[in-house]
Symmetry: C2
Subunit: 236 residues, 2 copies
Amino acid sequence: MNMILIENCDLIDGSRAVITGRRFDHIRGQLRKKTGDECKCGLLNGNIGTGLITRLDADSLTIELQLAAPPPPAAPLILVSALPRPKTLRKMLHYAGTLGVKEFHFIGTFKVEKSYWDSPFLEPDFLNQEMRLALEQCVDTVPWQIHFHRFFKPFAEDILPGLAAGRELLAFHPAPDADEIKPVHDRETVVCLGPEGGFTDYEIQLLTEQGATRVSLGPRILRSEVALSFLLGKLL
Amino acid sequence: MNMILIENCDLIDGSRAVITGRRFDHIRGQLRKKTGDECKCGLLNGNIGTGLITRLDADSLTIELQLAAPPPPAAPLILVSALPRPKTLRKMLHYAGTLGVKEFHFIGTFKVEKSYWDSPFLEPDFLNQEMRLALEQCVDTVPWQIHFHRFFKPFAEDILPGLAAGRELLAFHPAPDADEIKPVHDRETVVCLGPEGGFTDYEIQLLTEQGATRVSLGPRILRSEVALSFLLGKLL
């Protein structure tokens, strides 16, 4: 936790917040802060700065906030990915989230296992908690948005055109004729990642019809989370 | 396992190998291969190609190898890193290893916890097994080399100059005056990563005296394994 993430419900007036639970335990137990000490704070959807501990009780503390710095810029990138196995989903969210990706679309493809859609990791409470952990890690306050689309064809035909309008559209597909990846700089981009085993020919054809350029990461086969953070390094 | 890694001790003549244990279980249990089927194989330190299953017994199988393709090119990069916590060490090796890094130097710095040096993950048997898993994942046959240097000063003064000779030397250090990262293309490069909490001023000064350029990944604070694969994306 590199920043204490404050939410509106923690505020008791315009500049003071009461912190309990996991964040209180972290400030007291790990950071060993006491009254008069400061710690890095950020307000969800707001600025980043410091919090001065003005009161310390047995299971809560009050901090006076001074939040002047804006959050770091978001990545100009929408991530579309075949729904991965639940453990990998968690890693992909953390990795891309801490690198500044703010919009995720997880989709069904032919090679996505049906059981993945029943995972408790897809529950809003779980995803919100993952988001808080990612924001605390990377010192950011802007929440991400996650969308799930169970069926490939309606996503590719009805949703993707809207996402891709005015943006570059890339589909990762290990093919001999795929392009090399280039940095996107400030161009808004939509990146599509296939499942383990890749998109089918039909799926890649539908993506290509929507204007996707096929790009490849080279001959090595990588775990999804490694491929994701490596390609974000290439793109951003 | 995207490739069966064959070692010299598996060979019974110039082109045939007998496979047992974990790899046998994978070929039979997961891939469900039988006599006459083929699977992707590579010889440690050698070529990559196919293996034809010519004989199948209860707990071993014999394959006839045809290995014509060279392994993928290695990354032109030596990785120097503060010794991370054991779980992170494992991830860093897997991530950088599957991305083609072939030389690792793990070093002691002021902020490296002493207990990390006693981890069983530093045993050669464990590290060799991690290497096999990484090569099987990324379809490569060239082993990596790992070196440990417990003390920072002798490493920086006596070992690093030899590593850095004829190579670009980069030190990751979140400083306002740090340079942005640029792709290394084919330039041989040595990359130094600090521990959680970073290098001390003294350490970064020693690295700078050896010719290191300070580079930064931006304002976000990332987990070591995310930072590593992201920066390899930027560099490679």
